[in-house]
Amino acid sequence: MIAAAAAPDRGWRIDSRLVPLVGTVAVFVLTAGYGSVAYRGFFSAQVFLNLLIDNAFLCIVGVGMTFVILSGGIDLSVGALIALTTMISAALVEHAHWSVWETIPLVLAVGATFGAFMGWLIERFRLQPFIVTLAGMFLARGLCYLISIDSISITDATYTAISQERIALGAGASITVGALIALAVVALGAWIAHATEFGRTVYAIGGNEASALLMGLPVGRTRVLVYTISGFCSALAGVVFTFYMLSGYGLHAVGLELDAIAAVVIGGTLLSGGVGYVAGTLVGVLILGIVQTMISFDGSLSSWWTRIVIGALLLVFCLLQRAFERRRA
């Protein structure tokens, strides 16, 4: 590792850590290019903005997941936390008649606390993140059903107004509040990961936990914070999801944790931790979105092809990652 970092720059070569990210961007550009040529009406600003609008929640969850995976962990509770957030929001707004501005801070706090609790269990008792967050997933889904088994639809005026708010970007294209939040989260996430002490500590833990500890980095505190961030992002994604669906339901976002992990991996973050970019996750989410869009544009392909194509993409990216790791080793 150290020898590789100290190797002299050959000028024209891009930083080897950037290769997966460049690959991801290339795949996105190629897919988008193919779609624009093959399908009429595909190449328009609104189609590309819709990618962001329809996947805003996935993007937000993906940023949280990137931090968890960078630190060498995993979080399976994100989909369930989104469902719980939609459920609490819907119950508070519809049944208890809370306002939006009271509801949102509360659900964000619930999400962050939930994440912090899981992080504390993982850190304090040396538990496997996989099992702890799995239990967290059961708990969050179970809590949804405790609130109500049925879907609660939201008719609150402010919620519907925010949900339908469109910010025009000129040339007839527009974007939703959710998509703007997603972009802001990506920007903030990238800043935290690459420009703060906390971000560097996350990379250090993922790279080698023992060395991070010996360097005197606050490993325990950082790990709890990483899961807190993931919990917060899930709750924020849940808020955006509530605007998107205008309902609360215990079966919302089932299996979303896998989509989020897939987006992070396709975005070039190594699952072994320590290597990756938050911006890559955004591109990963866009690739998942464009696959879906192309299959719906095609019309002749059934929806399950989405899963098969995403599986194939995951395979290709993982094989590339392995080849890349071997070359560096």
Binding site: L134, F138, L146, R307, I308, L314, C318, L319
Partner: protein, 346 residues
């Protein structure tokens, strides 16, 4: 007494006994068995029957986890195997000798072998990605988990395929010697695995791979071959579970068959005392774990708690079990309990 307490299966066994006792307390008829139509009926028999597919998947999962791996594609493999068998058997209505009967599209034996072969192939794919390519097990199997369900839906054309061929129903609904046939299938797989692990060196090899893969390879254990075999077996067991499930519901649903099965199986393995970090494992424990999960579900129904609480209770059980397994937690509790009171310090 001390030896009993320290036995690795003590806690899983105690949990199961406790759950059964709770059941018996709330439901006086819990232990009652009735002999009707030549077989046994009763809550306990029902639990055994329903736990069989989960136990099958958990047995396979135990071996994978014992080698430091994990297989999250088992649910998708269950769906694929169910889709293959349902497609191959089908059951068209034909008139034979003046009687309307349902016939199988392929002989049932061929269909079963084909479905299990497809399942084993899925396992081979996982095994090669893990052992040959060197991917992390969770990612290697994530690929099949995502794509596999798509493949199952592709096979069934997105529909629920109903099977009409009566002999096939025996796998999941039949009775042998008064007990559900599915229980015999699970018992047979368990017995085979148990013999292989205790009568050959395989158990030792698997344990050594789980404790230290590199050292095992240096010591001459065929680490890669065994890893591939373990994944093949896990998918095979999931395939068998898929047959039992599709036979039980007389159909195959590519979208919903085996959903969340991987999580239940991992939970069963953990409950049974197998360490997720590899090495320490117990197949019998995982079977107990599967029984605990099924008993828990029926307890929740029988004591009249609404079924929606099921997941919260399950989460609570997982939290308690994983804390009990953590050495740090036990040390913290011991420090709290053993801490001398101020007066007794001297």
């Amino acid at each position: 007494m001390q030896r009993l307490l320290r036995h690795r299966l003590f806690w899983p066994f105690a949990t199961l006994v406790l759950l059964l006792a709770v059941n018996a307390a709330f439901n006086p008829g819990f232990w009652q068995l009735q002999w009707r139509d030549g077989h046994l009926y009763g809550s306990v028999i029902d639990i055994l029957n329903r736990a069989a597919p989960l136990a099958l998947v958990a047995i396979g999962m135990t071996l994978v986890i014992a080698t430091r791996g994990i297989d999250i594609s088992v649910g998708a493999v269950v769906a694929i195997s169910a889709a293959v068998i349902a497609l191959m058997i089908g059951g068209e209505l034909v008139v034979k000798d003046g009687v309307q009967t349902h016939v199988s599209r392929f002989p049932m034996g061929v269909a079963i072998v084909a479905a299990l072969a497809v399942a084993a192939l899925c396992g081979l794919w996982n095994g090669l990605l893990v052992a040959k390519v060197g991917m992390q097990p969770i990612i290697a199997t994530l690929i099949l988990m995502v794509a596999g369900r798509g493949v199952a839906q592709l096979l069934t054309g997105g529909q629920i395929i109903t099977v009409y061929y009566a002999p096939f129903f025996f796998l999941g609904n039949g009775f042998l010697l008064g007990l559900p046939f599915a229980v015999f299938i699970a018992a047979a797989v368990w017995a085979t695995v148990h013999l292989l692990l205790t009568r050959t060196a395989l158990g030792l090899f698997i344990q050594s791979i789980g404790i230290n893969p590199a050292a095992s390879r240096v010591a001459g254990v065929h680490e890669r071959l065994i890893t591939v075999c373990v994944y093949v077996f896990c998918a095979f067991a999931a395939g068998v579970a898929g047959l039992v499930i599709s036979s039980n519901v007389k159909s195959a649903d590519g979208n919903n068959a085996g959903v969340l099965m991987e999580l239940d199986a991992i939970l069963a393995v953990t409950l049974g005392g197998t360490a997720l970090t590899g090495g320490r494992f117990s197949v019998a424990g995982s079977v107990l774990g599967a029984l605990i999960i099924q008993t828990l579900t029926s307890t929740i129904y029988s004591i009249g708690v609404p079924p929606e609480v099921n997941m919260v209770v399950k989460a609570g059980v997982v939290f308690v079990v994983m804390l009990l397994q953590s050495a740090e937690f036990r040390a913290a509790v011991r420090a709290l309990v053993v801490r001398p009171s101020p007066g007794a310090a001297r």
